[in-house]
Symmetry: C2
Subunit: 265 residues, 2 copies
């Protein structure tokens, strides 16, 4: 039975979430009245992801971050140079409808991106609280270094950045995906929730990391693991693909993992 793109978008934004009043989400390319051939889901619509989606015969690409390297869409691509113009051309010629799902998926009950990270870590049994922007886990106590090793293995990461004593026992852990590692989110969470460790995507280096360092100097052991922004949020988009597969069983749904962004030299 023919499934219009609009029906998928409606399910993503109204049956799944309390809508935000203002949002960066929306259809960034394509026509919502077209019939869905296949759905591709990715963290970010990189050139490589767009090309892969087209090869997979998907005509709807759902991504978490914006197309043009910025949380807010630029007003005019023409002024921004050839990289923007060529990316725009690639999207147009691919024929893909591209829908950004950022604010909505973070407002799912519970947060669809945080939930993906929890599941990818296999930490569902340890979660003691799901809050709007975080989740709190209580794990069997283990040294920071061992937590880092297990997280790297589960998420297939070459490196994580850590602050704190590698031997510090960690039991109560806060999860903050994406850019929520900044001081405005992470520092109050440490204090309010009496956390040993926060595992976050990214955030400014002179905020939470320096807070953790000073806390350690005061004999208040705390620790921080920064996974990387994409690394912390890709599992949430992978989970979304799984949910789309269950909901729209007649349509092929592909999750396209991102390639690692950084080389560590």
């Amino acid at each position: 039975m023919a499934l219009p793109i609009k029906e998928v978008l409606t399910w993503l934004t109204t049956e799944q979430a309390q809508g935000p009043e203002q949002t960066v989400d929306g259809l960034k390319a394509g026509d919502e009245t077209a019939v869905v051939n296949g759905i591709a889901v990715a963290f970010m619509a990189t050139h490589s992801v767009i090309s892969q989606a087209a090869t997979l015969d998907a005509n709807l690409l759902i991504t978490h971050e914006g197309l043009y390297f910025s949380h807010h869409d630029p007003a005019d691509l023409d002024d921004l140079g050839p990289v923007y113009r060529e990316k725009h051309k690639l999207i147009e010629s691919s024929g893909l409808a591209v829908f950004r799902l950022h604010d909505y998926v973070h407002r799912y009950q519970p947060d669809g991106i945080t939930e993906g990270l929890i599941q990818e870590l296999g930490w569902e049994p340890y979660i003691v609280d799901r809050q709007p922007v975080s989740a709190i886990a209580e794990i069997p106590p283990m040294p920071l270094e061992e937590v880092a090793r297990q997280v790297k293995e589960k998420l297939d990461l070459p490196f994580v950045r850590a602050v704190g004593d590698p031997a510090m026992p960690c039991r109560r852990i806060g999860l903050l995906v994406g850019y929520r590692g900044g001081g405005g989110q992470a520092i109050p969470l440490f204090e309010r929730e009496h956390l040993d460790l926060i595992i976050a995507g990214e955030g400014p280096e002179w905020e939470t990391p320096e807070y953790v360092r000073d806390a350690c100097s005061q004999g208040r052991p705390k620790a921080l693991l920064l996974l990387g922004h994409a690394q912390s949020e890709e599992p949430g988009m992978k989970l979304l693909a799984k949910r789309l597969k269950e909901k729209f069983a007649d349509v092929p749904v592909h999750y396209i993992p991102g390639d690692p962004l950084f080389k560590w030299i």
Copy 2:
């Protein structure tokens, strides 16, 4: 001859720079009428730095970033928990005057922080343009991987994060210290200056790094090296200490290097 703290601060902010209209800079602790015994200079007033400054018999500490893990000073420390309160107590009991020099030093002609990085890299002969927030270098062409190796050696870094082909020849390079690695600064600089490579402190991961990745996918080779925020700005504060030594020859001036913030696990 007795040198009041005020005289040092006046030199730092009026004889050296076009003052910003609004600023985060200022005396954050202590009394500017006190006589200087010694000056300590550091990137950030961590617990460790404050303790070292006190041990060195310095009574004026000049730092680049704020005391409390945020670009803007918090309104009320008492609400923010024990880490803030104990740090406040440590500063009070150290008797140090603490002056934050951020906006002014960035407005020196040329930018005092960027200049420190240039000197630490030994790249003065390669600089072809000094702009308000960046500097442009033209180096003898070498592969990205070799640039990274030389930068790591000069700045004594265990790791840098890189985007781009390690074999890509780099000649024209933009330097953006601190948080200037964000898309708003770095992407236009790539375009305007036809850069092969930007070397920056830090910035959001889905901005400049993803722009560089897409540019490479388009066959427009570009590269990015992220040094870390402190790593890119500490040389600027080291240079400031050298200038203070020259200006106030009768007063001991100590540069206190920061310990590495992150462990790479």
